[in-house]
């Protein structure tokens, strides 16, 4: 079985699902339903502080993945993937509820690192490269399984509940302008606040 082809297949299916806002605009990704409770329990203990070490990644792998995620959602005047601790979410998800994807992810990560070394022989690692160099290289690989998976995991790491280890102190939600609140009351936004009410149509029947 060709792992890379399978991963490619998975990614293309996933990309489709994520792009189809018509129905349920999402994949229903691989489940580790019993893993949830454990993950959430663990999360309760760590959500206010960065984990001290990786569970799944080596330090070098973690640094590269963090650098890629930080180019996917860059830092700036608002939080990016780095400030949201997306890499720690990724690390934990691959060692718990997304564990079934972990072997495939490690394969495509190694492939990514190999490609980078081949393209930039003088640079120690992707993480050690300058930002412009990172962006230029990512443009050559941004349709690969590694990039697609990292993009998905980075987004989940930024916007899933902080109890899963990313979205540090709600920084992803704040960046996006999402209020984590249990209930709301109208008006919800600018345009409905100024709405004057529904005006009925003349009573003629259309064919």
């Amino acid at each position: 079985m060709n792992a890379s082809e399978d991963t490619q297949d998975e990614i293309s299916r996933r990309s489709f699902l994520l792009s189809s806002s018509g129905l349920f605009s999402s994949m229903w990704v691989a489940a580790h339903w019993p893993g949830i409770a454990a993950a959430a329990h663990h999360a309760d203990q760590v959500s206010d502080a960065a984990p001290a070490h990786f569970q799944f990644f080596s330090a070098a792998e973690g640094a590269d993945v963090e650098a890629v995620s930080a180019q996917i959602v860059p830092s700036g005047s608002t939080s990016g993937a780095r400030e949201a601790h997306a890499v720690f979410f990724i690390d934990r998800s691959l060692s718990t509820y997304f564990a079934s994807m972990a072997p495939g992810y490690r394969l495509v990560l190694a492939d990514f690192q190999g490609k980078f070394h081949a393209a930039s022989p003088g640079v120690a690692s992707f993480a050690a490269a300058g930002s412009d160099q990172q962006i230029a290289f990512l443009k050559t690989v941004d349709r690969t399984p590694f990039f697609e998976m990292t993009r998905t995991l980075t987004v989940l790491g930024m916007f899933s509940s902080p109890k899963y280890g990313g979205n540090f102190q709600g920084s992803g939600w704040k960046m996006m302008g999402f209020a984590d609140q249990h209930a709301f009351a109208p008006p919800f936004g600018y345009y409905d606040a100024e709405y004057k009410g529904f005006v009925p149509y003349p009573a003629e029947k259309h064919a």
Binding site: T7, E10, R13, R14, S15, F16, L17, L18, S19, S20, S21, G22, L23, F24, S25, S26, M27, W28, V29, A30, A31, H32, W33, I36, Q71, I72, V73, P74, G76, T78, G80, S100, R151, V155, L156, M158, F159, S160, S161, W173, M175, M176, G177, F178, A179, D180, H182, F184, P186, P187, F188, G189, Y191, D192, Y195, F198, P200, Y201, K205, H206
Partner: protein
């Protein structure tokens, strides 16, 4: 009265398989009619307090949906291919697996079908290569039951607001939910173009209703269980009312895997697994399958016997055929001011100007357009098809603009094709050792053309509404569905259909099927309202047959 608890092996009048949109209604109607009813639900029973605002759990970890971990499925596009398990773990036939079924996690769009949905074949003619057909019932026959859904289940809306609305005998019991900015903008753009947007009918309480709370506008409808009990899921409406008769038991965590028949070809009851995978037989005078268009089919095809070698109720060979998912398309727009679309229900304005098929378009199809958003941040961010930016500064700018964004979505027809089906995978089995679902699906070209047509209309509407920027989502062939329709179609001819117009199987006198599988055509998306109207009607007739000893 408290819920009934039947003794092991106790004979019941009706076994109902599935506690969702249809099963909940059937159970309530039959138990209120004085019959003893035992409802089997494979999933757990949860309550409002169990539901959470947790996007990862509900959308990425199968929090309340069927899971490939224990119930894998396979997929292929064409019958000539070998079906494979989709990698990444999503399921091609997806549904909520708990008491209340998919009515627990639906978005609650509750359009009625129009008159044309029932007799379209006669009006516009046949379509070569398809099984396009009329329904054996008309809108007029179903109308009283649509009204029952409005009032008994609880729908908010504004009657006759759309000039394209089918006739209705009674207004909605509750006013529409408060309009959102996306609804205002859709209305603004559409009216400029001479179209007729109107308040969306939603199965969500806009005011306190029959002991339930009104909507608290938390924004977690699509894919979630309602924490306020405002969504009119059968979990909160039909099921407690069925239990209150003292004649109905909901048996959760109980998976029916075989419908049994005797030498006369009548069903005698069902075999099921309890939560410990212990197998039991439950006798019944009659059986109603409301397990959804995928699982009802699997159950029939797996219930083979000497008398029914190709599966139960399948003398026509039509069980599982004509699967329809509906198609869809979308655009996303950015506006000057904040809309904050993550708040409140998903949809507040829709339009039906393009509902009917029009030969001038050059293809068959019709649909409705709505204003909405994928309200939660991760889903919004992951939406990457079409020309949406995917990473870097431009991607982040799109994320930061989230409060100023909305989507407009088209919901469209799927033609019934014999090659699109639910069947039994020849090798794969689930965690109980029961042969698994195989989905075969490829959209008809007209289905994709219609989705594209509505995307263009949505684009024009957002443009007319003053969007600063508009992105198109990708339109692709369906590789999964949450609308599981048409797989045991209703009809007068036993050679080409599975159930008659009263949902009785042509082959087994005391076996009835009532869920999305009964559909003859797909409607234009949003099938649950019609599933429930059919369920009220079916239960009405089934009860009459039982009282007259005609079962």
């Amino acid at each position: 009265m408290t819920a009934r608890k039947f003794k092991p092996d106790e004979m019941v009048d009706f076994v109902v398989v599935g506690s969702g949109a249809a099963g909940g209604v059937v159970a309530r109607e039959l138990s209120q009619g004085g019959f003893s009813v035992l409802v089997f639900e494979q999933g757990p029973r949860l309550s409002a307090a169990d539901f959470e605002h947790d996007e990862l759990k509900y959308f990425f970890l199968n929090g309340i949906t069927n899971s490939p971990k224990y119930a894998p499925q396979t997929f292929r596009k064409l019958p000539t291919e070998t079906a494979k398990q989709p990698l990444g773990g999503f399921l091609p036939a997806s549904y909520a697996r708990l008491v209340g079924g998919s009515s627990t996690h639906y978005t609650a769009n509750f359009w009625r079908f129009h008159e044309i949905d029932f007799n379209e074949r006669s009006v516009i003619g046949g379509i070569p290569g398809t099984a396009f057909a009329d329904w054996p019932i008309s809108y007029q026959e179903l109308e009283p039951y649509y009204t029952k859904v409005d009032w008994e289940v609880g729908v908010s809306g504004l009657g006759n607001a759309s000039p394209f609305d089918p006739p209705r005998s009674k207004p909605y019991p509750m006013p529409p939910l408060p309009v959102k900015s996306s609804g205002v903008l859709l209305e603004r753009g559409a009216r400029k173009l001479g179209l007729h947007p109107f308040p969306a009918p939603m199965a969500i309480a806009s005011q306190p209703y029959r002991g339930r709370s009104q909507c608290i506008h938390c924004g977690f409808c699509m894919g979630y269980g309602c924490e306020a009990r405002a969504k009119s899921s059968t979990l909160y409406t039909m099921i407690p009312e069925a239990e209150a008769t003292g004649l109905c038991e909901i048996r959760a965590n109980s998976f029916v895997y075989h419908v049994d028949t005797d030498a006369q070809g009548r069903t005698t009851g069902v075999h099921y697994f309890d939560s410990n995978k212990g197998s039991h037989f439950q006798p019944a005078r009659a059986v109603v399958l409301s397990a959804n268009g995928a699982e009802t089919t699997r159950l029939l095809l797996n219930s083979t016997s000497n008398r029914f070698p190709q599966g139960l109720a399948n003398s026509s060979g039509m069980v599982g055929k004509h699967l329809m998912f509906n198609q869809g398309s979308g655009v996303q727009g950015l506006f000057e001011h904040n809309l904050n679309e993550y708040k409140s229900v998903q949809v507040t304005r829709i339009l039906h100007d393009f509902y009917d098929s029009d030969p001038k378009r050059g293809f068959y199809g019709g649909g409705g357009i709505d204003a909405r958003i994928n309200p939660q941040p991760a889903l919004w961010a992951l939406d990457s098809g079409g020309d949406l930016p995917r990473w870097g500064a431009e991607f982040k700018a799109r994320l930061e603009a989230f409060p100023r964004a909305m989507a407009s979505t088209g919901h469209t027809t799927s033609l019934p094709l014999e090659s699109n089906s639910i069947s039994i995978d020849p090798t794969l089995k689930d965690a109980w050792g029961i042969p698994a679902i195989r989905v075969t699906y490829k959209d008809h070209p007209d289905d994709l053309a219609m989705a594209k047509f509505l995307q263009d209309r949505s684009y024009e509407i957002l443009e007319a509404a003053g969007a600063q920027k508009i992105w198109r989502n990708e339109i692709s062939e369906n590789v999964f569905g949450v609308h599981l329709l048409g797989t045991a179609r209703m009809g007068n001819d036993p050679a080409t259909s599975v159930v008659d117009k009263y949902h009785r199987t042509h082959d087994v006198r005391n076996l009835f099927l009532c869920d999305g599988s009964s559909f003859v055509t797909s409607g234009r998306g949003q099938p649950t309202m019609t599933i429930q109207a059919l369920a009220f009607r079916a239960a009405d007739y089934i009860g009459q047959f039982a009282k007259r000893n005609e079962i």
